[in-house]
Amino acid sequence: MIINVARKELKSVFASPMGWVILSLLMFAFGTYYLNGVNDYFAVMSGAMRPAERTGVTQFVAQTVYGLASFIMLFAVPLLSMRLISEERRSQTLPFLFSAPISLTEIVLGKFVGLVAFLSILIVFIALMLSTLNIWSDIDFGFIIANSIGLWLLVASFSALGLYFSSLTQQPVVAAILTFVALFALMILDRFFAGDPSNTLASLSLMRHFQSFSSGLIDSGDIAYFVLFITTFLTLTVRRLDADRLRG
C-alpha cells in the first residue's frame, strides 16, 4: 500500500515537466562541478610539491560535487516537498486518500518514499558519474558509497521536514519557505557554536552529522541521528493529519 501511494506521487511528479526539468537542471549543475573538479585537480596537484599536500582524485572531485549537492538540495527539496500535502489540501483531494482503505501512516510513508525515490535518482546518477573516473584512474569506491549514503540520509531528512511543513498549510509556497528557513537554520546551527563544539545544540545541526560521511566515514551515531530526525517528523505529520480527522 505504501508503494501504491509512492507510485502515485512519482506519477504526479513526472506527469508535469517539473520533475524532468529539476532532474536535468540539477544534473547539469553537478556535471559542471564534476568537470571543474577534474580540471582543478590537475592544476592544484601540479603545484603540490610535498606528498602531504596531495589528495586522491576521488576525494578531490567527489568532495566538490557532494558539497555542492548537499547545498543545492537545501533549495531543491523544499520546492519538491511543498506540494506533497498542501497541494492536496488546497485542491481538496485529501478525502480521496482518507476514504481509501489505507492508514494515515501508510499515506505519509508513501508520500515520503515517493519523494525520496525521486531524489534517489539524482544520488544514483551522481555516484555513476563519479564512477566514470575509474576509467582513467583507480578510484576509492568506499568514499563514494559513504558520501552517497550520507547524502541520501541528508536528503531523506530534508524530505521528512518538508513533508511536515507541507501538512501544516494550504499554500505550497508557504510550506516551501518554512521548510527552507527551518532547514537553513538546522544546517548552519553549528556555525553559531564554532567556539564551543561540545554544545548540545550544535550537535542538532544536520551539517555536522553529514561531515563524517563527506570525509568517507560511516558513523552509526550519525545514522541514528538521521533516522531519529526522519521518524520524528514523519510521526508529527501523521499526527497533524489525524488532527484533521478529529477536529475537522
Binding site: L94, F96, F98, P101
Partner: protein
C-alpha cells in the same frame, strides 16, 4: 444477523461546542437508494464525512456491513465508494491513469485493475475520454470521473455528496439515470437540496435540518403526504363553502382568490363526479378540476418548520 449495509448509531459531531450533527441514527439495506435532504448547512456533508471515516464523530458509531468504522477503518473503508462535494481529482493525470491509481489504492488486485477501470469507464460513459487529461474535461465529465472513482472497486455502499451540483440539465439527467442504475447493485446514499431529484432517484428519504433528523421514511410516504386527498376546483360563479360541504365525502373546503376552491375529501371517497354534477346543476361555471398537489418544497418547509416551532 441483519442485512444492513450502513448503520449509523447516534452520530454526533461538535464543532467548537456547536452541534453540527446531533444524534443522527439510521440504517440502510442492500439495493436501496437513500436520499439525504436538507437546506444548506444542515449537516449533510458532515454526516457523510463521518460515514466515510473522513471525520471522527464526537459521539456514536458507524458500521459498514457490520464492521465498525472506528475499530477497523481499513476493512470498513474498503466497502465504501465516496465522492465528496469537491471532486478529489488529480487534474494532471489522464482519466485512465487516475482510475488506475484509484483502483490500486482501493485494493483491486493487480490482475483485475485493467478490467475494473474498463467497467467503471463504461458505466459512467467515459470510454472515449480515456487518454484525456482530467484538467481538460468539462464539468460534467469530471463529475463522471468522480463517480467512476467511487465505484471502481465494486463497493457495497456508494456515497455521493451532491452529485448533480453545477451540471447542465442533460448531464443531470444522465447522472440521475446512472445513480438509479447503481442503486440496483449497490446501496447508494446521495445528498442534495434539490427535492424533485430525491423523488426521481431515491427509494428512501431522510430530511436533516440543523443537524437533526426530522424525517426518515420511504419516498412513497412523502409522496402521499404531498398528493393528499385534495382537489382544486376553478369556477366562474363559485358557491359558498357551505354549499360545497353538502356534497357527500367532502370534509373541508376553502375558498381561494380568482374563483378557485380547494376541497379536502375523506380517504375512501371519490367526490369528483358529484362535484361536476352539482356544478352543472347549479350553474357554477366549472372550468377546471384537478387533484391538488402540495409541492415537495411545501412538505419540506412544513417538516423543517415544525422542527423550529418545537423550541
Amino acid at each position: 444477523m441483519n442485512n444492513f449495509t450502513v448503520e449509523a448509531i447516534e452520530l454526533t459531531r461538535l464543532y467548537g461546542g456547536r452541534e453540527a450533527v446531533s444524534n443522527v441514527s439510521f440504517t440502510l439495506s442492500k439495493g436501496e437508494v437513500l436520499g439525504f435532504l436538507g437546506p444548506n448547512g444542515a449537516g449533510k456533508s458532515t454526516t457523510m464525512k463521518m460515514l466515510t471515516g473522513n471525520l471522527a464523530p464526537s459521539n456514536g458509531s458507524v458500521k459498514i456491513c457490520g464492521i465498525d468504522m472506528m475499530e477497523s477503518p481499513k476493512e470498513a473503508k474498503a466497502l465504501i465508494g465516496y465522492l465528496p462535494e469537491m471532486r478529489p481529482l488529480y487534474k494532471e493525470l489522464t482519466v485512465d491513469e487516475y482510475l488506475t491509481v484509484a483502483a490500486r489504492l482501493h485494493r483491486v488486485s493487480s490482475g483485475n485493475i485493467k478490467k475494473a477501470v474498463e467497467i467503471a469507464k463504461e458505466r459512467c460513459g467515459l470510454g472515449h475520454m480515456s487518454k484525456r487529461l482530467i484538467e481538460n474535461l468539462s464539468n460534467g465529465y469530471q463529475q463522471r470521473v468522480g463517480i467512476a472513482q467511487a465505484i471502481i472497486h465494486s463497493p457495497m455502499v456508494v456515497i455521493l455528496d451532491e452529485p448533480t451540483v453545477g451540471l447542465d440539465p442533460i448531464q443531470i439527467r444522465d447522472i440521475r439515470a446512472l445513480i438509479r442504475e447503481l442503486g440496483s447493485d449497490y446501496s447508494v446514499i446521495i445528498s442534495t437540496h434539490i427535492l424533485p431529484e430525491v423523488e426521481m432517484v431515491c427509494d428512501r428519504v431522510q430530511i436533516i435540518d440543523k443537524g437533526k433528523l426530522v424525517f426518515n421514511g420511504a419516498i412513497d410516504v412523502l409522496k402521499k403526504q404531498r398528493v393528499g386527498n385534495k382537489l382544486l376546483i376553478g369556477m366562474h360563479n363559485p358557491p359558498s363553502v357551505d354549499a360545497m360541504l353538502k356534497i357527500a365525502g367532502i370534509t373541508e373546503a376553502e375558498a381561494l382568490a380568482g374563483g378557485l376552491m380547494r376541497v379536502r375529501f375523506a380517504e375512501d371517497a371519490t367526490p369528483a363526479e358529484a362535484i361536476v354534477q352539482a356544478a352543472v346543476k347549479n350553474n357554477w361555471g366549472l372550468h377546471q378540476i384537478a387533484p391538488d398537489q402540495t409541492s415537495l418544497e411545501d412538505v419540506f418547509m412544513q417538516l423543517t418548520y415544525q422542527e423550529q416551532t418545537e423550541f
